[in-house]
Amino acid sequence: MDGIAESTAHQREAGCKKDMTHQEIHEQLSDYILGLLTPGQENEMSQHLAGCAACRQRVHDEREIGAIVRETLHSATRPEPMQLRQLMPPVPKKKRSGKIAANWTSRLAPALVLLVIIASSLILTAQESKRSMSIFFASTATATSTNTPTATVTQDIRSNINETTPISEMGEGELALNEIKPLVQVVAAPVPLQSPTPVAVISRTTTN
């Protein structure tokens, strides 16, 4: 605020001439009325205003701008009686507990479906495993369909295995895969006209 002090001295000598220093004071006057000065600056400005009628007039003019804006807005934007009440938007519906429960159910639904699928898969796998074991140790399993085209594959699984040889007496490599020679026979079946999808049926037979 050296400028203010300097200007104050200048004003006393030259009667508030609008030199550069005084222009700066005027700029600070705007800040003063806008509340942009620090408390220290504000204090100095107050002291300056006490001794400078021109700056006091300027402060008055600056404040007039704010005052007239305020008056203008206040009178221009005044709502009419009852005008605003009609503009109240609808009150939002409160969420009820039942709705919350429904939301939770809907969120859990995919998880429940997934759980059912996994459980079904496990049951089917267990059943399939049990059936495979029975096929292996039993004799023949044949699946047929009445109105579907069939191709019968006969696979000789145990032809090269000496069933009389105990497993403990088998030599190393005796059960190598290349020693199991499947015999495949494809039997053509008549194709019915109404058959939508061909189905292959695998028939396993045990031969000696």
Binding site: S30, L36, V69, L73, S75, P79, Q83, M88
Partner: protein
């Protein structure tokens, strides 16, 4: 010393906002589904919000739409209001300013001021003085027009500072800018407004 006095509402439509404790209780009642509480909340703040929207948009119909939109959003998001972060009115003002900006953006193309197309003397028909201003002084009509000539950002600052008497920190919170930026904008606003008013007074007295 430099603070503008608080607003003196002269209409029963514009009651003073309640104190924090009372307001907190009112909000709790709203959240519990009390429709009467919503009505009280609306009636206590609708005047402030309508005036803010009208001042920023200078169009009565737009202001009414913004008022409805703002309260519809505020009611729906009332549970999200955090009194630790801001005052309720600050929260409402922020919602309103945001909606005013959206409204202005949507209307920008069809309502581009003619003065931008023909800068020599064609007045902007979109910034019409409201009917109420017909009863006001010529100075007030001049100021209303001058406010319309400010950029939207500066108009926001002018309204919040001159009319609502807010501190720069709160202006910054509402406009999502720093207090220093709010101060700079206000300095610029004051200078521009002073200049526009002086020019308009000269032109209109010729």
């Amino acid at each position: 010393m430099s603070e503008y006095p608080s607003l003196a509402w002269d209409s029963a439509e514009e009651a003073y906002p309640s104190n924090d404790a009372e307001l907190g209780f009112l909000i709790e009642r709203c959240l519990s589904g009390d429709e009467a509480a919503y009505r009280i909340l609306f009636e206590r703040h609708s005047g402030l919000i309508y005036r803010l929207a009208y001042s920023l948009l200078q169009n009565r119909q737009d202001a009414e739409e913004v008022l409805q939109d703002s309260f519809e959003y505020a009611f729906r998001k009332l549970a999200d209001f955090d009194e630790q972060k801001s005052a309720f009115t600050t929260w409402l003002y922020r919602i309103t300013v945001s909606r005013c900006r959206n409204k202005r953006r949507r209307k920008w193309l069809p309502t581009m001021p003619l003065s931008l197309l023909a800068p020599n003397g064609v007045k902007d028909d979109n910034v019409k003085a409201p009917d109420e201003l017909l009863e006001q002084t010529e100075m007030q009509r001049t100021v209303w027009y001058a406010l319309g000539q400010l950029s939207p950002k500066l108009r926001e600052t002018a309204v919040l500072r001159y009319y609502y008497g807010m501190q720069y920190k709160e202006i910054g919170e509402i406009l999502n800018i720093s207090p220093k930026t709010a101060e700079s904008r206000m300095r610029l606003t004051h200078q521009k407004l002073r200049g526009i008013i002086e020019i308009l007074q000269e032109e209109w007295t010729e």
